[in-house]
Symmetry: C2
Subunit: 196 residues, 2 copies
């Protein structure tokens, strides 16, 4: 039985267990022992797949970062007016966050105590800057209000989007990736007040 | 010197030190020993002021909750159209959050392991519901868009506001309580897109 279980373990399933444990205990508070118990395989079996917990962290946050950076390569994020590109990016950020919920949750909790964490923070900052640049370009085009500071607007929009990891649960009815993404885009770009 | 220091300690200054330590270490991770070292007074001196760390937590989150609930008692939150009352509440929530930053930060991190934490979560939920009810009333008046679910809109607005504790630092230039509150109200009610 044990052997069978080991054989069915893939780097992918191990990663998904590890992310869950990291999110529950915090990365610092997670030992290889915790991972071994949660995965139901021995520590040496884990070492067969990865060099240690830092590699699991790197793979997990890479998955979130690849999802986010992937958005910037999408056609509607690359061509057209900056404000339309920005709207596409905001929309897709919500979808990626929900699709990769545990991975993005982990990414957002990274604090910077290890090389991998500092690398992840750098990449997050890079992504934030690219979205902020899009916000600035849209403001320069005159499509985005100029009476709210661009950096502040970016922080508020990221704040709204990132807060989704705190309350989103797939089982909440009528709140799929699409509904939440649409709602965020509407609030952010058009506001809650009803137009006349 | 030690005696002099003890004498100048008030429940107020002790509270401010405790909140800082709770925010840094987490409430669960904070011992009376940590508080004693951070405050530079003996544990017995702390016990002279409070029964223990749970009382300090209760006082700290009470300060945040009193600030938030106080908003709902303000004249512009009680009279007038629901949408104007909602806008006042959103504006003042940001101001209170920034004015009481460490206390609100602690409140938002409470997880519910002790009676005091569960009580704080209940009160937070109560506050959220009262703002959600205002959102619903504004939608019923036809002043707030009806194509975004009210609960979802409330969560997104709270998400944007609460995220301020993650990045706000008083030393950031040009970002006083007023500027941030104005920016949040503009984005939330009017949206980022420039009207024609």
């Amino acid at each position: 039985m044990t052997t069978a279980k080991r054989d069915t373990y893939t780097p992918e399933t191990l990663l998904s267990v590890a992310v869950q444990v990291f999110n529950e205990r915090g990365y610092d508070g997670t030992s290889m022992e915790h991972l071994s118990r949660a995965a139901g395989i021995s520590k040496s079996s884990i070492y067969h797949h990865v060099t240690g917990k830092e590699e699991l962290l790197r793979r997990a946050v890479s998955r979130a970062l690849d999802g986010l950076f992937g958005i910037l390569d999408e056609e509607p994020a690359r061509t057209g007016r900056a404000s339309d590109r920005l709207e596409h990016v905001v929309h897709r950020m919500v979808e990626v966050l929900i699709a990769e919920l545990p991975y993005v949750t982990l990414l957002l909790r990274v604090r910077g105590n290890t090389d991998t964490e500092r690398w992840a923070l750098d990449r997050r900052r890079d992504f934030d800057h690219r979205v902020a640049a899009l916000m600035q370009a849209a403001a320069a085009d005159g499509d985005i209000r100029s009476d709210v500071d661009g950096r502040l607007a970016t922080r508020l929009v990221f704040g709204m989007i990132n807060s989704i990891v705190e309350w989103y649960r797939p089982e909440i009815r009528g709140m799929g990736e699409r509904e939440v993404a649409d709602a965020v885009a509407k609030v952010v770009f058009e506001g809650l007040r009803r137009g006349d």
